[in-house]
């Protein structure tokens, strides 16, 4: 079920009313029931997948927890008699047993994910060539990449003893399936999300209002901006659009994916907030980033955190890496010191790439990101000297320049999403340096992309609005808090105005493309 469908809204509305009417003890049960309804609605054939992940995660974590408990008890009982070495050996043995449970669970789940992704390769290529490709559909069938990463993160946390195993299988099932974030994340950590899911929630008008406002803003970004500009993105992917046209594609795609992804997350986080649950932020105005490391701390944060905690750190502080580090430092100097970090980065970005899809372009996408991160790290000393020499950091315009530079660089990297055949991507990039067809801006090409003059006006207005809101958030903090201080009538009027804009200018429903049908000839 699409989050933009009328059915979803109705479902959410009914749930919200029921949620605050029933006894608070039953709220989490209702959430579980709603999540499974949501899942079944999407198709009964997917139920097996989520059940398998839930059951295997439960079994593995319970086994690990039992083992840990037994160990702790033994250690406590024999505190006096065991020597330090004996204690250490005993602990290591226990950990080895638990590692077997963990690995079995990881292999089973990631194996399923890999098979699903492999099966998706062909449909993905077909969709990409038909132009119906959507970044968000990558996680399908049904957010499997998201709930699986979330569950596996939990299993590792239990193994590491950074969180206690959940003994109630139904509670764990809710953590795995919590429906607002099923479709597209954010990927939450158990310790952060789970306690909130199970605790009783008192009705809080402000939280409800904030949540609904955020959903509305998300729908604005998705329906008015992203779904409108999508038509031009499809057209511009065609082989005839090179040079300046390709550059325009990268900018349009940046707008589309921002509206689509952050808008979807706003709906998710907003709905959760209305339910009294605080999900982690997944985006913090990423297009205001000044360097690539910062960009990745502000874009799809929950995925980045997951990769850092469960891929990057474990690799970079593993014994072989530390050995490599020692050896490299001796022989390669300062660069050697950073080598292990780079090796871990490459591995992390490789995994991040294939998480998005098993086609070569996503691997390339990961490697490009990694390359620029390493490059900027290696050049950071140089940069600092350069900045200091010309006092650039103090100049206001330079900040703007850095932001623009990062925006363009990320656009050029991100666009590889759309080209499953990486040769196409490189030839497009090449055309940027060989073809200076600026005339497409005024020779009428822009009007043939599937957007009308009115569409451009709406898009321009919408982008200005998004930009202004982001700027206010960056400088003054939460818009909703600012509104909350205002006279309620003013607040309601503004919200209503946004609602009307979404209703009238949103790109949804039958006949959007045939809107003139009524006055066609009969």
């Amino acid at each position: 079920m699409q989050i933009t469908s009328f059915g979803f809204l109705l479902f959410a509305a009914v749930l919200l009313v029921a949620y605050y009417l029933i006894p608070k003890k039953g709220q989490w049960i209702l959430l579980l029931a709603a999540s499974y309804c949501f899942y079944l609605w999407a198709g009964i054939e997917y139920l097996g997948f989520i059940l398998l992940t839930t059951v295997s995660t439960y079994a593995a974590t319970m086994a690990m927890a039992a083992n840990q408990e037994k160990q702790a008890k033994y250690l406590a009982e024999n505190k006096q008699t065991l020597s330090r070495e004996e204690r250490k050996a005993y602990k290591a043995k226990g950990k080895r047993v638990n590692r077997v449970y963990l690995i079995a669970c990881l292999v089973l789940n990631f194996g399923i994910l890999a098979v699903c992704k492999a099966l998706l390769i062909e449909p993905f290529k077909a969709a990409a060539s038909a132009g119906t490709f959507s970044f968000l559909s990558l996680g399908l069938p049904l957010g499997i990449s998201f709930y699986m990463f979330q569950s596996m993160g939990y299993a590792v946390d239990v193994y590491r003893q950074t969180c206690a195993a959940e003994k109630n299988p139904l509670k764990l099932a809710l953590f795995v399936s919590f429906f607002p974030q099923l479709i597209q994340g954010p990927i939450s950590k158990f310790g952060q999300l789970a306690p909130q899911l199970y605790s009783p929630k008192k009705f809080d008008g402000k939280q409800l209002s904030f949540g609904l406002q955020r959903m509305l803003w998300g729908y604005f970004k998705k329906l008015v901006i992203a779904d409108r500009i999508a038509a031009a993105v499809i057209t511009l992917r065609g082989p005839e659009h090179t040079g300046v046209s390709f550059f325009i594609l990268t900018v349009f795609y940046a707008v589309q994916i921002y509206g689509d992804f952050t808008g979807g997350i706003d709906v998710t986080v907003g709905l959760a907030q209305a339910l009294g649950i605080k999900l982690p932020e997944n985006f913090i105005r990423p297009y205001f980033s000044k360097n690539i490391a910062e960009y990745w701390r502000r874009w799809h944060i929950s995925l980045g955190e997951w990769m850092k905690d469960y891929i990057f750190y474990p690799i970079s502080v593993s014994q072989p890496m530390l050995k490599l580090s020692k050896a490299a430092r001796k022989n390669l100097g300062a660069f050697g010191k950073r080598l292990p970090v780079y090796v871990a980065s490459i591995a992390t970005w490789f995994v991040t790439g294939i998480w998005h899809g098993l086609t070569p372009n996503f691997v390339l996408w990961g490697m490009l990101n990694c390359f620029f991160i390493v490059l900027s790290e290696e050049c950071s000393g140089l940069y600092e000297k350069f900045h200091g020499r010309f006092h650039l950091k103090e100049k206001k315009w330079y900040g703007g320049f850095e932001i623009a530079r990062m925006f363009i660089l990320m656009n050029l990297i991100r666009i590889v999403d759309l080209f499953p055949n990486v040769g196409d991507y490189f030839s497009r990039i090449g055309s940027l340096f060989t073809k200076f067809n600026f005339h497409v801006l005024w020779d009428g090409t822009m009007m043939k992309l599937g957007l009308t003059a009115l569409d451009y006006i709406i898009l321009a207005g919408g982008i200005v609005l998004m930009f202004t809101i982001s700027l206010i958030q960056e400088k003054k903090g939460s818009i909703r808090e600012l509104l909350w201080q205002k006279n309620p009538v003013v607040r309601y009027a503004l919200i209503f105005a946004l609602l009307v804009i979404v209703l009238l200018m949103g790109n949804y429903g039958v006949g959007y493309n045939a809107s003139a049908f009524i006055y066609n000839a009969f």
Binding site: S5, F6, G7, L10, L454, P488, V489, Y492, A493, F496, L499, V500, L503, L504, M505, G506, Y508, G509, V510, G511, Y512, A514, S515, A516, F517, I518, Y519, N520, F522
Partner: protein, 353 residues
């Protein structure tokens, strides 16, 4: 404090809902100008009750029969519930709904739509959706309307969960804001009657010239779904003690194949129904295809519709025993008004063409 803020919230909600309602009324097509067919279904309710005969079907009823003529000549009170390309399940649910407002002596159903078995079998889906709207948007809310929507949606409508956009048409017409015309403001609250008891008058003349040759069909059997709803109509009319009469209007196009006709003859025989193929009665009716059609044989103009009404009224009186109400003062007053409007309209249209 708390009380006051709840009051403000409720007041603002009420204002917002009212504004949304107004916006919806503004954005819905009014069908007052060039596409008057869209307004027909909604006009029924002002003229419902006390009709002895109700015609149900597509353009072949609302363009071809003039209820006013039947009143003038036979004192028959009749009304047409027609809409463009009305499909048979839509006709069935309109029939079902009609019984909530009145119980006529005779229900007349035009069988041309038997040829469409599903919404998908009607061709262009965008156009189909537009026709669905014209039949369904005008209906008042009832279980019949809801069921009709469920039966009528095209694949694309289903994909968008179109039922909600019938409940709140704003969701369907939301993007019409850039195409609003004076008409949308003029008829925001009050619409004109575009029909005379469901009859949409045309005064133009475009003679029938030469026959288009239609390629023969592979299979002439009407679909299962069509028969399902025809059976339901028979059952429904039986329940209400209403006589169901099947007709095929004398329009030359679309082609009415002999094989189809044969199936209807057999069906009528089996269920003891009266079935009249008016295509076979053209001479008795006196249709002159060089004078009596406004679109070269697809539909009759007002001159043809009056002739057909005159012919068919006789059948209603003789074979169905429909009564003459011209002696009833109350009914006569109401109908005198309708007759007046009819001739005013006719004059105005004739002056235009």
């Amino acid at each position: 404090m708390k009380k006051k803020s709840i009051f403000t919230l409720c007041a603002c909600l009420a204002v917002c809902l009212a504004l949304l309602w107004l916006l919806q009324a503004l954005l819905m097509p009014k069908y007052m100008g060039s596409v008057k067919e869209g307004a027909l279904i909604g006009e029924y309710y002002d003229n419902a009750g006390n009709n002895d005969v109700v015609f149900i079907g597509d353009c072949e009823v609302y363009e071809n029969f003039s209820p006013i003529t039947m009143w003038e000549e036979y004192g028959i009170t009749s009304i047409i519930r027609g809409s463009p390309q009305q499909l048979i399940w839509q006709s069935y649910y309109l029939m079902e709904e009609t019984f909530q407002y009145e119980t006529p002596k005779v229900m007349v159903f035009n069988v041309l739509s038997m040829k469409y078995d599903t919404p998908q079998s009607t061709g262009d889906q965008t156009q189909r959706e537009a026709y669905n709207r014209m039949t369904l948007d005008g209906m008042r809310w009832s279980g019949s309307k809801w069921n009709s929507i469920q039966a009528s949606m095209t694949e694309e409508e289903k994909q968008w969960q179109g039922q909600w956009s019938y409940l709140f048409p704003l969701l369907r017409y939301h993007d019409r804001w850039s195409q609003l015309t004076g008409e949308d403001f003029q008829y925001l609250f009050k619409k004109d009657q575009v029909s005379d008891n469901g009859y949409l008058m045309q005064t133009g003349v475009k003679p029938f010239e030469d026959e288009h040759i239609q390629p023969p069909l592979v299979d002439y059997t009407f679909g299962e779904n069509s028969y399902y709803y025809l059976d339901k109509m028979v059952e429904l009319c039986k329940q209400h003690g209403t006589q169901l009469v099947l007709i095929k209007a004398p329009s030359l196009y679309p082609v009415w194949w002999d094989e189809w006709d044969q199936q209807m003859v057999e069906y009528a025989e089996k269920h003891g129904l009266l079935y009249v193929n008016l295509l076979e009665k053209q001479e008795e009716i006196g249709i002159d295809w060089s004078q009596d059609t406004y679109d070269a044989g697809l539909h009759l103009n007002v001159y043809g519709a009056e002739k057909l009404a005159s012919y068919f009224g006789k059948i209603l009186v003789e074979e169905c025993g429909v009564a003459d109400h011209r002696g009833d003062a109350e009914i006569s007053t109401v109908w005198a008004e309708k007759v007046k409007t009819y001739y005013q309209r006719k004059e105005a249209l004739q002056a235009q063409s």
